[in-house]
Symmetry: C2
Subunit: 291 residues, 2 copies
């Protein structure tokens, strides 16, 4: 059984599972695990690893339209180098501070591979789920896409400092809060725009029509892409960008744009069924951890 089939199985078992974060009595709780071999390319600093792993969980809280309160993490490694550990904690603390949350510690674990397991606690009385998109709504994304894919190319090319910088994304907590009153459905783009749209379609029982021209491709993607197909792959399928993918009634797009501290782009609209990009079927393909 692959990871997605297993997730579907769990959704059937656990009434609160299946969205970016679990919701319980006004609390939002989310957890992720990242590993050196699959998630941190050679050259990723421990500061970036701390930022990015806690950031991934903050992004899940953002995707619920919730406020981020606090984070804890387990830092697992074969040995505990004081500089590495302090760098990780500094990255974790700084990304929390950037969204008004607090990194409050966690646990250490001796383990053969550097692994970070992160948890973020958020709060909201009115979570935005994946399931509320309605035909006619506009499909939007925050920021630009493809930044993490570009970073990976730069790691491979040895441009380590710039790659680390791109890897330290800004979790969209403030945007998520600002967009929550408008959004009918929301999630983050951690598996790529294409897969996110498929997941929203499944949860909302709707379709989508995307306009390729309007997809906001990161400048860094244009720098590294070999051709137009490659650019499209990095921005549509690679994922790990942690932007918000959401739907709003068309009449409120301008209000949502004004409310959001992060620029938003309208990239398509909600339909009854089918998922199309420029009138062609958009494959349900993306980045799956550990593959």
């Amino acid at each position: 059984m692959d990871e997605r089939a297993a997730l579907r199985l769990l959704e059937g078992t656990l009434s609160d599972a299946g969205d970016d974060a679990a919701v319980i009595d006004g609390h939002v709780l989310t957890t992720d695990m990242l590993h050196e071999t699959t998630d941190f390319p050679d050259g990723t600093t421990r500061y970036t690893a701390g930022w990015r792993s806690v950031g991934a969980s903050l992004s899940d809280v953002a995707a619920m339209g919730a406020n981020a309160v606090a984070s804890v993490a387990v830092y697992a490694a074969p040995e505990f180098d004081p500089d590495d550990l302090e760098s990780f904690v500094a990255g974790a603390s700084d990304v929390c501070e950037s969204v008004g949350a607090r990194y409050v510690g966690g646990d250490l674990d001796t383990f053969e591979e550097f692994t970070a397991s992160t948890t973020v606690l958020g709060e909201t009385d009115d979570p935005v789920l994946r399931s509320g998109a309605k035909p006619g709504d506009a499909l939007c994304v925050t920021g630009t896409l493809g930044r993490s894919g570009a970073a990976l190319r730069l790691f491979e090319a040895g441009e380590i400092e710039r790659a680390n910088e791109l890897f330290r994304f800004e979790p969209r907590v403030a945007a998520g809060r600002a967009l929550a009153p408008f959004a009918t459905a929301m999630m983050d783009s951690s598996d790529g725009l294409a897969r996110s749209v498929h997941q929203l379609a499944e949860a909302s029982e709707c379709g989508f029509e995307l306009d390729g021209e309007s997809i906001p491709v990161a400048e860094s993607v244009r720098e590294v892409a070999t051709d137009a197909d490659d650019e499209r792959d990095l921005s549509l399928f690679f994922g790990e960008d942690f932007e918000l993918v959401f739907t709003v009634p068309k009449a409120t797009v301008e209000d949502a744009r004004e409310a959001s501290p992060t620029p938003i782009s309208v990239v398509g609209s909600v339909t009854e069924d089918g998922i199309q990009l420029d009138d062609e079927a958009l494959p349900d393909r993306g980045y799956t951890h550990g593959e």
Copy 2:
């Protein structure tokens, strides 16, 4: 740098770290990671693994005297067998239910070794820290000690069913809540009574005098121990029992005993300094994960 030195380093960096769980605005947050090779002996069922890993985090919340609200976990494994996964979730859900909390899901991760990373959210306006023990207070523990050490022997001996049963401990959330108004300091015995006492002494800047005769040794330890020294090792040093170790003013011992749904034993008292068992120095030795 070993795990304990690293933890001390972090305590200096993070103002909220250093207790069984982090405390933020009435919330209590704690996280742990357990691995197949170091934490789940051959024969441990996935149901037991789910119970035990979430239970370990519930125990941290109990040790703060907090109410347990909800839990999430990352289930990481090389492949996702539906039966394994459902068993894990059932164990995680059941241990939550046993303490009035809810298991609300989490994440899956493809990883070479079965690993569970768990988080529990709790609530309290008045957390019990490790730092409030005062000379003259009584040193107490809930339940009995050595059960996990005994379970390990039974796993080795192939008595798998009984070993699994012993491995599924009852997190002392209700006892922690009941004892909170009395306790001056509290933690759980996850590293063994000896190490717990050393940690309480460090946090409270005090000493302890323990009475060997009064230490409540689990019946299962008497079944498996080879001799008196072995019995002492299993009950004092092995740890992983997740009982509460706490101090209360001597005058309130009987009130605390009456309030607690779990039997408590007075095993010694708080002194100015030094840590002694039956007038001999008690070594700071215990079970360290991954060693």
